[in-house]
């Protein structure tokens, strides 16, 4: 098929824009994250950070999909409403999601405190990029172990409601990429399988098996992104924890 240049009309730039129905589901544009301090959650690895899409990461790009069927007694919108309202409760033990009091709303920033094994904890955060009645998406900031987003959705399929968590990501820097290769991917698989299992249990399907599928979308590493290491929240979290006894000792009582 061929067509002359400019053969398809484009909108009149002067015309008043009518917002599409997805307008309320997307977060407003932000350049750098702002976060209010919350009890027991470290915000220093999140405040002022930029968001990182899968394009901005370092490692191989992966698409990981986790699915579970929860039966026909609950609709997709009911399932997502429950998931959003109780999101932190479904995380595996030892991991903390400190979200806004309003739940999961576009533009919210949540602080994360993650157990990485060996007593190491990672303090980072996520940004609510998109949220509607049937899905919501979290996007990661600089310093998070991966650059990308996680979409949670529910759909009615063959008479049953299926929940899905789908991660599209690259490890943010070489240190994280190494960690992913040395067991990080398996740990992440266990994390999301446990999360979906917990949601399914809440929705009345405690025995439902979680199916996992990983696809390497791009097996090239982006060496021009090696500078992402500067923001590595794992290194910073360890330094902050090592430094905190000294700083508290110096602090006047």
């Amino acid at each position: 098929m061929t067509a002359p240049v400019g053969g398809v009309p484009t909108p009149d730039p002067g015309a008043r824009e009518t917002l599409p129905r997805d307008a309320g589901a997307w977060a407003a544009k932000v350049d750098r994250l702002e976060v209010q301090p919350r009890d027991g959650a470290r915000a220093s690895n999140v405040a002022g950070r930029r968001l990182m899409g899968p394009v901005q990461g370092f490692g191989k790009m992966w698409q990981k999909t986790y699915r579970v069927d929860v039966g026909s007694s609950i609709s997709p919108t009911q399932a997502i409403a429950t998931w959003k309202a109780h999101f932190p409760e479904f995380w595996p033990a030892g991991n903390r999601f400190s979200g806004a009091l309003t739940g999961i709303q576009p533009g919210d920033v949540a602080l994360l405190d993650l157990a990485m094994g060996g007593g190491v904890r990672l303090s980072t955060g996520v940004f609510v990029l998109y949220a509607d009645d049937e899905s919501f998406t979290l996007m990661t900031p600089q310093g998070h172990m991966f650059a990308g987003w996680i979409s949670f959705s529910a759909e009615a399929e063959r008479g049953t409601t299926t929940l899905q968590a789908q991660v599209l990501m690259r490890a943010n820097d070489p240190l994280y990429e190494l960690g992913m290769m040395l067991g990080g991917h398996a740990k992440e698989d266990r994390f999301w399988a446990a999360t979906l299992g917990a949601v399914a249990t809440r929705l009345g399907a405690p025995e439902a098996p979680v199916q996992a599928r990983s696809v390497c979308v791009d097996n090239h590493r982006q060496w021009k992104r090696v500078g992402n290491t500067w923001h590595n929240a794992m290194v910073r979290s360890m330094a902050q924890r090592l430094g905190s006894p000294l700083s508290s000792r110096r602090r006047p009582s």
Partner: protein
């Protein structure tokens, strides 16, 4: 989620350049339609692929994810990817997700052709 209502039609402007006209609702379920349009646009043979979003009515985060996978495919083939016809709302979403750093955005088709380095 119901199947998205979308049309994606390819126009080959010349040996090197193709346009994909996207109309309707873009979600992750559009991936087969987008990949079919990519092949109709010349697949890996096209050096410049321009996405026309003038008819875009709805896009969720799954749709943005699908564009990332198209971007990876285009990059693997050393193809240039550009877009035009985005409303202010969708332009802001490209900026928020930082897709604007890797997909050049133009106001209209002539600008996209010129900006994509057409001789």
């Amino acid at each position: 989620m119901a199947d998205a209502i979308v049309t994606m039609e390819a126009r080959r402007l010349d040996e090197r350049t193709s346009v994909v006209d996207i109309s309707g609702e873009v979600t992750s379920s559009c991936e087969p339609a987008l990949m079919a349009a990519y092949e109709a646009a010349g697949g890996p043979r096209a050096q410049r692929l321009i996405l026309n979003f003038s008819g875009l009515e709805y896009m969720n985060s799954g749709g943005i994810g699908m564009l990332v996978t198209l971007l990876v495919r285009a990059k693997r083939q050393h193809q240039q990817l550009a877009a035009y016809g985005l409303s202010q709302h969708y332009r802001q979403i490209f900026e928020l997700t930082r897709l604007d750093e890797v997909i050049a955005i133009f106001d209209d088709e002539p600008a996209a052709l010129a900006g994509a380095g057409r001789p």
